[in-house]
C-alpha cells in the first residue's frame, strides 16, 4: 500500500500453540490421552475393569480468560497481515474474566499508533458478537503503552460511539476485514 504505515516494521512473535487443553481437564480427565475417548463408550456399565466413573462429565465449562483470548487472538491487525496475537497486541495474561465481567488490556505496537482505537473497536465488536450478552466488557489500553491512553480508553467505552461506528459502512468494512480471520482462533483455517 502506498500509505505510510504507522509502524511499518512491527516485531512479530510466533503465535503460541492452540489453547492448551490442560486447563480444560481435571483429575481423571488429565490422566487420559484424548485418543482413549473412543474406547470410553462403555464406562457407564460395570465399573469392574473401569475404575470409578470419570469425573467432570456434564459439568458446566465456564467461559474463562483463555477462551476469551481464543476469540481475539486471530483478529488481523488493520495495518499488517498478521494476527493481534503475533503482534502481542492481545495477550492471555492481559485478559480477566469474573462473573459477568470481562476486562481486556490491549498493547499497541507503538505508543503513537493511530490504529489503537480501530483495534479496540474490533475487539469490542468481536466480543459483542461472540460473548453471551450477560457479559459487561471493559477494554483498556495497557497502562503506559500509548501516548493518548486515556482518551482512547474513554472512546472505546462509549457505547454510543461504538454503535455509530457500526453503522458507518466504511468503518464497518475495515472492522469486518480485521475480524475475517478471527475464526481461526489460533488454529489454521479448516480447508
Amino acid at each position: 500500500m502506498s500509505r505510510q504505515l504507522d509502524n511499518d516494521n512491527p516485531t512479530i512473535f510466533a503465535p503460541t500453540a492452540p489453547a492448551t487443553s490442560a486447563r480444560r481437564k481435571t483429575g481423571k480427565a488429565l490422566l487420559w490421552d484424548d485418543r482413549a475417548d473412543e474406547f470410553l463408550d462403555y464406562d457407564e456399565e460395570d465399573r469392574e475393569g473401569m475404575g470409578e466413573a470419570d469425573v467432570g462429565r456434564g459439568e458446566r465449562e465456564e467461559i474463562d480468560a483463555e477462551e476469551v483470548f481464543d476469540l481475539l487472538r486471530s483478529i488481523t491487525d488493520p495495518e499488517h497481515p498478521v494476527s493481534l496475537e503475533q503482534l502481542r497486541v492481545v495477550n492471555p495474561d492481559d485478559i480477566f474474566v469474573s462473573g459477568n465481567r470481562v476486562l481486556v488490556y490491549l498493547t499497541p505496537t507503538i505508543p503513537h499508533c493511530s490504529m489503537s482505537t480501530l483495534i479496540g473497536l474490533s475487539l469490542r465488536v468481536r466480543l459483542m458478537r461472540a460473548l453471551p450478552p450477560r457479559f459487561r466488557v471493559d477494554i483498556r489500553i495497557k497502562e503506559g503503552t500509548h501516548q493518548s491512553e486515556h482518551a482512547v480508553n474513554k472512546q472505546l467505552n462509549d457505547k454510543e460511539r461504538v454503535q455509530a461506528a457500526l453503522e458507518n459502512q466504511h468503518l464497518l468494512q475495515v472492522v469486518e476485514g480485521c475480524l475475517a480471520t478471527a475464526g481461526k482462533r489460533g488454529r489454521e483455517p479448516a480447508a
Binding site: L31, Y42, E45, I63, R185
Partner: protein
Amino acid sequence: MDVPRIVKTQITIGELDPPADLISGVNDGKVQLLEVVKALGEYLTSVEDGVRLKGLTFLSNLLKSTTPSKFNRPATVTLTRFFTSGVDDFDSLPPSLSALLVLSKLPTFDDDAAVEVYRAICENVNMKAYTQVVRNQVYQLFDSFLASHRNALKSMGADFLNSYTKMVDGEKDPRNLMLLFAMDRVILLEFDISQLVEDFFDITFCYFPISFRPPPNDPYGITADDLKASLRLCMSATPLFAKMALPLFLEKFATAVGPAMKDLMLTMAACFPTYGAAAVSERGTELWEAIKTEILYQSDAGIEAASLSALESLMRAMYPTPRDSPTGLAQDIIKECLKLLEDPEKSQSLAATKALVAMFKSTASVGPFVVSQTLPHLFRQFNHPTNPSHRAPILWSLTSLLIAASKVYAPPGSPRQYSHERPFEQYREALMDTLREGLRTNGLKEPAARGCVALSEIPGLWSRTEVEEVVRGMGDIVLNERNADVRKAVLKSLTTLAQNFPASIESTTLPLLFHALPDSSPPMADASGRDKYRSVLSSVAELCFLPALFEILVIRTLNKLDVIASLSPEGEQRECEVAYSFDILNTLHGVIVKKLEAKHADVVKHFDTVIPRLTGLAVEASKGRVGGGVPVWRDKRLLGLLGKVVDRLVWELPAERQAKYLISLHGAFDRGEMGGIVAGSVQWTAGSPLRTGAPPSEQNLIVLYSSAIQALKPDTALPFAPADLLAKLINWTIHLGTAAFQQHYALELITAFVNKRYTFPGMEEALTSMMERVWVGDVQDLEKEEGVRRRALAVFLHITRGLALVRHSLAYTSVERVVDVLKLASYDPVIVGEAARGLGVIAKGKGEDKSSHLTAKLLWAQKMWNFALPKLMEGDADAKGRERLVYLSAFASLLPLVPASLLASDLSNILPLMIRTLSLPSAAERAHAITSLESLLETSNASLAVDSLVHRYAETIVEGLLKSVGEVPEMGSSAVVRGNALRCLAAVPDAIRHEALSSLKPVVLRDLGRALDDPVRSVRWEAVECRARWYKYK
C-alpha cells in the same frame, strides 16, 4: 472418376474442401495429383482474382489431406514452382503458404527448392502487411526449412542471415515469438553469425525484459514465463552477445523492478557461464554491486533467490575449475560479507550468509575458499561474542554453510566430492567444539543439531565416534529439554540423522530414552511426570519408525507392559497404571499404523511376538482370581486398543498365516485352549471364555476373537463350518454376552462374518433360517424378556447390515420386515421404537473407521435407500398422530446412509420429512437429520431445483434448526445435536439468499446469543462461528 466434373462443381458451388472420394481417389492412386492440377488449370490461371483464389485454396486443401507418398518428384517440383509463384500475390499467399508447408515436409522436396522458396518469400513478402496468422505460416515454413534443410540455409551464408533478421524483425505476437525464439536459438548455436552479431543482438535483446500479460482466455495459453524462458535460451546461446549484453544488463538494473528484476537476475544467471570468464570478469565488480543490492535489501523472496543464483552463476563463470584460484572479486565479496556478519542481528548479516552459501555452492574453486575465509571468522565471533545474544545468529550462519556443504557433497554421483576438496579438515576440532557447546546451550540447541546432521551427512568427514558424541548430546536434549519446540526440532534432526546412523541411535539414544520410562505410572497428581513419559514415548515413536529401530520399540514396550501388568495397584493408582499402559500400547499402535501406511514390510514379521504377548496379558488378567486388586488388563479401554492392534496385524498376514492363526484362536474360544494364542504358558482350566457362566472378564476377551475374524481375508480357510460359528455367535450375543462392550464386538463380528462369508456353501439357507428364527422366535415374541428381544433385534439388524453392503436379497426382505413392524407403534412400543432407530445400524455401512475390512458393492447404499424410503413415506402417510413419529425417526436413522447428492433427486418429498424430523424428541435422531440437512445446504447451489426448494422452505428450516440450538421443553438435547444444528445454521448464509431470511435474521442472532452461553465449550465454539457468519449475512 470424372475429376474435371468434380472440380468444376466444387469450385462453382464454392465448396473448397475437396470431397472425400476425390481425396481417397488420390490417396489410393486412382487419381494422379497432376490430373487434378490440370482439371483446375483454367481456374488456377484465371485472371479473375476470386476464381484463381478458389482454385488455389481448393488445391492447397487437397494437398493437406494427401498422403506424402503420393507426391512423386515431378509433382512436387511442379506444385512447388506453382505455389511459389503465388507468394507475390496478396490473396494467394495464405493458401500458397499452407501448400508449401505441406510440400516442404516431403522427402521429394530438396535443398534447392528450399532455398528457392525461401528466397522467393524474402523477396516478395512484406511481413508487416499480414496478420499474425499469415506471418505464423511463414515462420512455420522457415521452421520446417531449418528442420530439414538446415545445411542448405547455412550454405546461403550471410545472405540467409541478413534476410532472416529482416523478415522476423518487429514481430510482436506471443505465439509467433515462441516460434521465432526457438528458431533464433538454433541459428545462434549452429550458424556463423560472427559478422552479424549486432543484428541478432537487436532482434533478440529488443524483447528483454519481457513485459507481457497473457490476454484473458488466450487460445494458445502462452504465459509470460514461457516467453521469458525461451528468450533466455536465445540470449544465453552465444558468447558473442557478451560484449553488448553485459552493459545492457547493468543499465537495466536502474529501471527493473518486481518480475522484471527477477527476470533480469535469472537471465544473467543463465548467460554468465556461456559468456565466459574473460568477458564477465571485465564487468564482474559492477555486476556484483548490482546483484548485491538485491541480495541485501530485496524483500521479495523470489527475487532474492534469483539474485543469489545470479551470484552463484557469476562465480561459476569467473572461477569454473579448481585451477582458477579465487582471487580478486571472490575475495572482495567474501570480505564484504564477513564485514556484514560483524553485526549478526542485522538482517544484512542473514543476507550475507545467504551470499556466502551461494558462493560456496558455485564451484570447487570458490567453495573451499569461502569456508577457509569464513569459518575462522565465525569461530572467533562465536567464542568471543560482542554480545551474548549474537551467538545464535552466528551459529545459524555456520549451520547454513554446513547444510549447503552437505547438499553439495552428499548426493551420490555429485560432481563435487568432499574427498577432493576437504574444506573442513583443518576445522574438525573447532567445529566439534562449537557444536558441542551449541548442544549444551539454551537458544543454540536447534542450530547446533541441524549443523550436526549436516556434517554427519557429508561422506567421509565424520567417524562413528564423532557421530556418537553428537547423538548423545541430541538425545540428552530430546530427553530433558523443557521447551517443546526446541525438543521437537532437535528430535527431527535426530530422526534424520538416524537414517544414516541407526546403530548409533540404537546404542546411545534409545537406551537413554527407554531408561527414562518409569516401571510404574507416576501418581495421579504428578502431571509433570506424566508429561515427561508422554514426551519420551512420542520421541521413541518418531525414531523407531525406521525399520532398523522398530524391533527395539517392540521389545522395550512389551517388556514395559509386562512390568506394569505384574503390579497389583489399587483404586486411583490402578487407573494411572491403566492410563500409562494405554499410552505405551498406543505408541506401539501408532507406529505400526504409520509404518503400514508407509508400506514398511518389517511390521508383519513381529506378529508372532506382539500378538501372543499382548494376548497373554489380557488372558492372564481375565482369569478369575482371589483377592488382589482388579488387574490392569481387564480395563476395556486397553482391551479395545488391543483389539485395534490385533486387527491391524492380522489384516497384514497372508491368507495361509491367517488360517494358521485362526485355528489356534478358534481352539481358544471354542474349547478354551488358551495356550495356543498366548506366548509362553498359561494356566487355563476354565474352558471357552464364551461358555455359559463365564465371568464378564473372560467374556470381554471376545474383543480378540472379533477383531481377528473381522480382519480375515475373504479367502482365508476356516477351521469350522461358517454356519455353525454364526449360530453359536448369535446365540451367545442374544443370551450371554449382554454387556455393551461385548455386544459391540460380537455384533461387529457378526456383520463382518456375514458380509464376507455369505457365499459359502450352505450359508444362504442357514442365514435365511437363522434370521427367520431370530425374528419370529425372539424379536416378535412378546413373551420373551425385553433384553432378549432388543439384543435379538440388534443381531438381526447387524446381519442385515452385512448383507445390505453386498446387495443381498435377504437384506431387503429383512428391512421390509423392520419397516413393517413400525405399524405396531402403540401395540409394541419398545421394540418398534428400537426398530425405527435400528435402521441406523444399516446406515452405518462400512463404518467411520477407514480401515474397516467390510466389503461393499457399488451403489449398495442407494439401492437400500431407494428400497426403504418409499415404504417409510407410505407408512408415514398412512399412520396417524403420534404413530407417525416412528416413521420419522426411522427416516432420520436411515438418512446417514446416503449423500446429499442422492437426496436431491427426490427432495420435494424428502425435504418436508427432514424438516419434520427437526421436531423429533430424540436428540440423536435430530442430529442425523441435521447432518444430512447441512450437507444438503452445502451442495444446494449446485442444482436449481434443490436451490428453489431450499429457498421455499428457508424459514421453516431455520426455525426448525433453532429448536435444536436451544433447550426446548420435552425435546431432548445434547451437545452433539446443538453442535450440529449450529454448524448447519452456519451453512445457511451461503446456501440461502438473504432476502429469503432477512426478517428472521434478528431472531436468529438473538437465539444464537443464548447459544453463546452453552455449558459445553465446543458448542459455544460453533455458536461463535455461526453467529459471526450471520452477522456478515447481508
